[in-house]
Structures are given as C-alpha cells and as structure tokens.
C-alpha cells in the first residue's frame, strides 16, 4: 500500500492514494502544472475544464492560478490540483519550483503562433531533463478554433509529440473541443502508471514482479 509517505522518506512526488471509505473506489490526487508562454490560453483552458466558462466569468471565480477538479475514471476518482505558472520569459527560471513533485504537466502553445510552439519545445526538453522521471507530459495546441490563422501544422506537432512520447491534442478553450478529453487522457495514463508502480511495490519476489510486469505489458499490447 502506498499510503501517504512511508517512513522511508519524504513523500515528494509520489501519487497519494487514499482508500475510499468503504466505497471500493480509489481516490488519487495528482498535481498538474501548466506551462507555456503567456497569452496562449493556459488559464482559459483550465477555466473551461473546471468551471465550464469562457469569457463569461462569474463573480465567484476570483482566480485561475490554482484550481482543483475531480474526474471519474472507471473505478478511480482522480482529483487534479492544477498549478498555473507565469508564462513571461523573465520568470522562466522559477519554473522548477512549480513542477517539482508534479505528476503531470500540460505544455500549451498557440496554433496561430509559431514562436509559442518553439517555447513549448524548450519546456518539454526541460521537463524531460529535470522533472520527476515518470511525469506524464501532454502537449496542447490551443486556439484550434482559429484554424484559418493557423501557423503550426497539426502533422508537425503530432510528429513531434510522438517522437517525444507526449500525449497530444489540439484544443479550443473557446469551443470546448478536446478540453475534457485531454484531462481525461492524462488522468488515465497517470492512473495506469500509478497502478503499475504500486503493483511492482506490492510484489515481494523478483519472479512475481517479472510476471506482473509482463502481464501488464501483454494486456497493453493487446489493447492497442
């Protein structure tokens, strides 16, 4: 059982699992950071996901810097804690403080702006190098509704994402296209990873561990 921080060390970067009170379902809490240049629509994306709003703000929504949202996947309830980061170039060096201990990251770029895609690439590189090794990274090409002003081709971004093992979607906070989908996919892959890690931890002997991993790999292979 991966309870909240065993005595072995500080619980930095481990997914927290709480056994739901008799309900049988797992509750997982994940930290997700949003990276990307300013004005690519990071916060709009989150506001759309969490509050279903776009430009029609209610008084109660004071900030989009820190938000939480719960998502139900098959037998797991995933609670996202979404940390927004300042996108301005001058605050770039502070980013490691934010993504330290995060289980997932969404790198956002603007499909109408090639520069933001370049920035997104540097973010991805930095995450792969410095963030926790099993962080799930998603690339989101936002403002997909402005496809007539497109400057970043879908295929180009897709190829890049595949090459680097990223989840990828073109989203639109304005029309809500692919917003819930990208969060759902992130949730699924973290839960999958999490189950795998916990399973490996539970296995006592080397042999059972091997069996377990091969079983998972086998099932994944056939699902694809």
């Amino acid at each position: 059982m991966a309870n909240r921080g065993g005595p072995g060390g500080r619980p930095n970067g481990t997914a927290q699992q709480q056994q739901g009170g008799g309900g049988g379902g797992r509750i997982c809490q994940f930290k997700l950071v949003l990276l990307g240049e300013s004005a690519v629509g990071k916060s709009s994306l989150v506001l759309r996901f969490v509050k279903g709003q776009f430009h029609e703000y209610q008084e109660s929504t004071i900030g989009a810097a820190f938000l939480t949202q719960t998502l139900c996947l098959e037998d797991t309830t995933v609670k996202f804690e979404i940390w927004d980061t300042a996108g301005q170039e001058r605050y770039h060096s502070l980013a490691p403080m934010y993504y330290r201990g995060a289980q997932a990251a969404i790198v956002v770029y603007d499909v109408t702006n090639q520069d933001t895609f370049g920035r997104a690439k540097t973010w991805v590189k930095e995450l792969q190098r410095h963030a926790s090794p099993n962080i799930v990274i998603a690339l989101a090409g936002n403002k997909a509704d402005l496809s007539n002003k497109r400057n970043v081709e879908l295929d180009e971004a897709k190829a890049y994402a595949e090459e680097n093992g990223l989840l990828f979607m073109e989203t639109s906070a304005k029309t809500a296209v692919n917003v819930n989908e990208i969060f759902q996919e992130i949730g699924e892959s973290i839960v999958g990873l999490f189950v795998l890690v916990v399973g490996i931890q539970i296995c006592r002997s080397e042999q059972s561990r091997l069996n377990y991993v091969s079983k998972i790999v086998y099932s994944l292979w056939y699902r694809k």
């Binding site: 309870n3 909240r4 921080g5 065993g6 005595p7 500080r10 619980p11 930095n12 970067g13 927290q16 709480q18 009170g21 809490q29 930290k31 949003l34 300013s38 004005a39 990071k42 916060s43 506001l47 430009h55 703000y57 929504t61 004071i62 900030g63 989009a64 810097a65 820190f66 804690e81 940390w83 927004d84 980061t85 300042a86 996108g87 301005q88 001058r90 605050y91 060096s93 502070l94 403080m97 934010y98 201990g101």
Partner: protein, 532 residues
C-alpha cells in the same frame, strides 16, 4: 565513633594553601588559588584565547546559559502551574496530570490555550483516550527535540528530518492503532494538524532562526536588497495594478498586512495560512484590475510587487522555518502549497533580480540601485511623500469621470429633443396622409333640442295629430309609457347621444381642425396603433 568524627574534621593545612605556593590561603571558588593569583591567572587565559574562538565560546556559552535560564524558568513554572492550573484542567485530560502543562517550556501559556481551544473543537468528539495518546506522542517528541537541539552536532536539517519523521509516525499510528479505527480521515487530518501546531508552538524558540544557521544574515541581506529596490514600480515587474483606485489600495494594504502577520504566527501552518490569505487578497485585487479571473501571469508579478512593498521582517527565516518544519504533504500540494511556492518564487526572483529581468538597460538599473536617480512615480512617493498630490490625482480622475458622464447626459438630451421633433413631424405627416386616404365627413356638432323652448318654427307647424282610438287595445298605454324600461329601446339613438361629450381637444393632432366624427376617429387611432 568519636575518633572517626575527629578524623573527618581534620584537614591537611597544605590543602588550604594557594596552589601557587605564595603562602596565602586559597579558596575553592578561585580554583584553589588565592584571590591575587586567581585574578592573574584568569587574565592570562583570556589574553591567550584567539579572537574567533572566544566569540564562538561566548556564543556557545550564551546558548548554554540561555538554555539553563530556560530550564530554570521551566522549573519555576512547574511549581507555579502545579497549583493554579489544576482547576482549569478539570474535565480535560492532560497527560501525566498537572506535570504536563509546565513541561512545554516558555510557550506553556500558548500551549495551554491551544489545548483548551482544541478540546472543544476536536477532542470532545473523539474522546479522551485519543487525546492522551496524541499528547503522549507530542511530549516524547518534544523531549527528544529539546535534547537534540542542545547537542552541537545536530544540524537544523537533522531536526527538520526528525520533525517530518514525527509527522509520518503520527500518520502511521493513526492508521495502525486500534483506538483510531473509528475515526474518519478528516478528523485524522485535523489531529495531525493539531500535533504539528502544538509541537511547533512549543519548540518555536528552538527551531525558528536558530543560531547555528545563517538565516539571520540572509534576512538582513534580503531586507537590504528590498530596501534598495524600493524604486521598482508595478510597471517594472509587468504587474497591471491600477495604482489610483481606492479599492485596489485597500486590497494591497490588506495583503501587505497579512504578509507581515506571517512573522508573528508561530506554528508553520499558521504562517502558511497568512500567506494564503495574503495571496487570496492579491487574486481578488487582480480580478478587479484585469476584469476576469487572474491567472498566474498576473498573480506572480503582483505577489512580487507586494513582497517588495511589504519588506516583511525575517522573511528568509520564516520561509526556511515553514519549509523545514511544516508537514511536507501540506507544502507539496493544496492551495497553501501553491501560494507558498509562489512566495518562494517571488523571493528568489527578488534575490536574483537583474536589469534584464526588469527589461531595462543595465546603466539605468545601476543608477537606480545606487540611488543616484529616483523615478518620479514610485509607490511610496505616490502614497506617503505626496499624499495630497495623490488625492488630487484621484479627484482629477473623479472629475474626468463626472465630465464624461455629463457629456453623455447632454448628448442624450440632444438626441431626445431631436426625437421628439421627429415624432411630432411624423405624426403630423401620418395624420395628413390618413386624411387624404379616408374621406372625412365633418358634421356640425349636434345641439340638444329643447322641447319646451319657444321655437318660432313651432308656431308654423300644423297642430299635432291626435291619435285616434280605433279599438280598445289594453296594451297600448303601457307600451308607450315613458315609465316602462322598453321606452329607452324605442327611443331614437340620436337622443341618447346627446349625453356623449364631443368636446375632445384634437387640435394638436389634426392641426386645429375642430371636431372629428366619432367613427372616423376610431379608425384613425387604429391606424396609428394607439387604440388599445
């Protein structure tokens, strides 16, 4: 028996003499020397000691004496509390009876208050055995920490490690022990928070800005740095605060107050709560300035601005204390964790601030930093030095707004006037059109004829025809009698219409043409859409 007593009293004379052999009597208090030799000796020793060593020694001594003093106080308090605290403890289950309250050193009073507060909030519902268990854990941890902190080999990081370990032990204990089996996870979190709060309040003096670290120097450095940066305005850090709005001012002040309040809170989670309140205020104020939910793009610069203007006391010490001794789970996640991370980022940004990060040429930055030039519109000058100027600015703004509003009113009035004129013209035009289309027949107003009046015409009339009684009809008289209700039905419509008042003033509609016939009037109204 007598012999043995005598023997014990007998002391060798050489034992009493000065160790130096100067033939004066020595004293145990002067390390066996006579007073003169002792003074000389100690002076010699002081001169020999290297400068650095002596400082270190002094510091150590100070620490030790400080601690012994603290121990003394503790002992005094034991006596003191043992008789006046007992009535308060009635109904509350303190560990080891009355001894416990005095145990927690100089912070006992606060610990007491905490215990009392949480008794009603938390322990009343979970029961005494859990309270006793939690307090047992805390007191054993406290004892260990006090003795650890005393030894010079323990670094602050070890203490931090031990504290985090303590939180984990309590978490684990609450999961494993039988007495906690009926407690839900929310209460468990609260219990953990309580343990942290209680232990840290008691250990505050030992763990906050300890002498073994250079926290204090760092505090002074950052304070100096922020003072040097007092010329930085909201615009420099890309922060869209509107400096003139009174509402925004209030929010900036309240967030500054909250941030300053961090220093006076003792438990790490209380310090964290101050940061959270400060940041919520900032978000609120950014919402006012931006006109929508503020994202991190707006929030972080605003926080940096607030930190620069607040220049909180012992900022680094506070941050380090929270980082070391706050439950790591709280710092890694949740709203508190997010805002605290932002604060750390803001401080790190301020520490590493260069001309480049403010988007200004290096020379200008250097000049500002050295104080050779001052920008005209700093926050301070706007607020303190030129309060009246600021007020004037605000009044100007209000005037500007009023002027705008006045202009709008005038414009609207003009428009209304025009509309009224247009309307009048249109009505006239329509009426004219209608008059062309519908053939109007103007009849003179009917005058009621007075039957009894002496009409000259009447004289010319032939005499009325007398009815001739043809048969003896019984119904005749009744039918024509004016007393019967049917009489009205039989009367001519014209007679009834005499009671209708035709005297309607339609001069403004028809151009002063006099009266209009009734049935035509309705049709006009219909066509104008007035008739409802």
């Amino acid at each position: 028996m007598y012999a043995s007593k005598k023997a014990s009293l007998k002391i060798d004379e050489s034992y009493l003499m000065c160790k130096n052999g100067c033939r004066f009597y020595g004293n145990e208090e002067w390390e066996g020397y006579c007073s003169k030799c002792h003074r000389e000796n100690s002076q010699k020793r002081r001169r020999k000691m290297p400068e650095a060593d002596s400082i270190k020694d002094k510091q150590h001594q100070a620490q030790v004496t400080g601690f012994t003093k603290f121990e003394e106080k503790r002992r005094n308090k034991t006596k003191f509390f043992s008789f006046w605290k007992t009535p308060n403890a009635k109904g509350m289950y303190f560990v080891e009876g009355g001894k416990n309250e005095a145990f927690f050193g100089p912070e006992t009073k606060e610990a007491e208050a905490l215990q009392r507060e949480y008794y009603y909030k938390l322990f009343k519902s979970v029961g005494p055995h859990i309270q006793i268990d939690i307090h047992k854990c805390i007191s054993s941890f406290y004892k260990k920490m006090v003795s650890d902190a005393d030894s010079p080999t323990t670094s602050i990081d070890d203490l931090s490690e031990r504290t985090q370990h303590f939180y984990q032990i309590i978490t684990k204990r609450m999961e494993d022990e039988r007495i906690y089996s009926g407690v839900n996870s929310e209460i468990k979190e609260q219990l953990l928070d309580y343990a942290e709060k209680f232990a840290m309040t008691c250990l505050y003096r030992l763990l906050f800005c300890p002498a073994s670290t250079i926290d204090e120097d760092k505090d002074l450095n950052i304070q100096k740095r922020i003072r040097q940066l007092n010329w930085v305005s909201a615009k420099h850090v890309d922060c869209r605060i509107s400096e003139t709005s009174a509402e925004v001012h209030d929010l900036v002040y309240s967030s500054i107050t909250e941030l300053l309040g961090m220093d006076s809170a003792k438990a790490p989670q209380d310090k964290l709560a101050c940061v959270v309140r400060c940041c919520r205020n900032i978000l609120q104020l950014m919402q006012k300035c931006v006109g929508g939910p503020a994202s991190a793009d707006e929030f972080l610069p605003a926080l940096i601005f607030v930190v620069l203007k607040a220049n909180p006391a012992r900022l680094k010490s506070n941050i380090n204390y929270v980082t070391r001794f706050c439950n790591a789970n709280r710092l890694m996640s949740g709203e508190g964790g997010y805002y605290f991370t932002n604060l750390c980022c803001a401080v790190s940004f301020i520490e590493n601030l260069t001309a480049e990060s403010l988007n200004m040429p290096v020379e200008e930055f250097e000049e500002y930093m050295s104080g050779r030039i001052m920008p005209s519109n700093t926050w301070e000058s706007a607020l303190i030095m030129c309060e009246s100027m600021h007020l004037m600015n605000e009044n100007f703004l209000i005037f500007e707004e009023l002027k705008n509003e006045h202009n709008i009113v005038v414009r609207e009035a003009e428009r209304l006037k025009e509309e009224v004129a247009n309307f009048q013209d249109e009505i006239a035009r329509k009426v004219e059109e209608l008059r062309k289309d519908v053939c109007l027949e103007l009849r003179p107003k009917k005058e009621p004829t007075e039957i009894d009046a002496d009409d000259p015409l009447v004289a010319d009339l032939p005499p009325p025809i007398r009815p001739q009684v043809v048969g003896n009809d019984v119904n005749y008289g009744r039918q024509m009698s004016p007393d019967t209700p049917e009489w009205h039905v039989m009367s001519t419509p014209d007679e009834r219409l005499t009671s209708v008042n035709y005297d309607i003033d339609l001069s403004d509609l028809s151009g002063g043409d006099g009266s209009i016939c009734e049935d035509n009037l309705t049709s006009i109204f219909h066509s104008l859409g007035w008739y409802q």
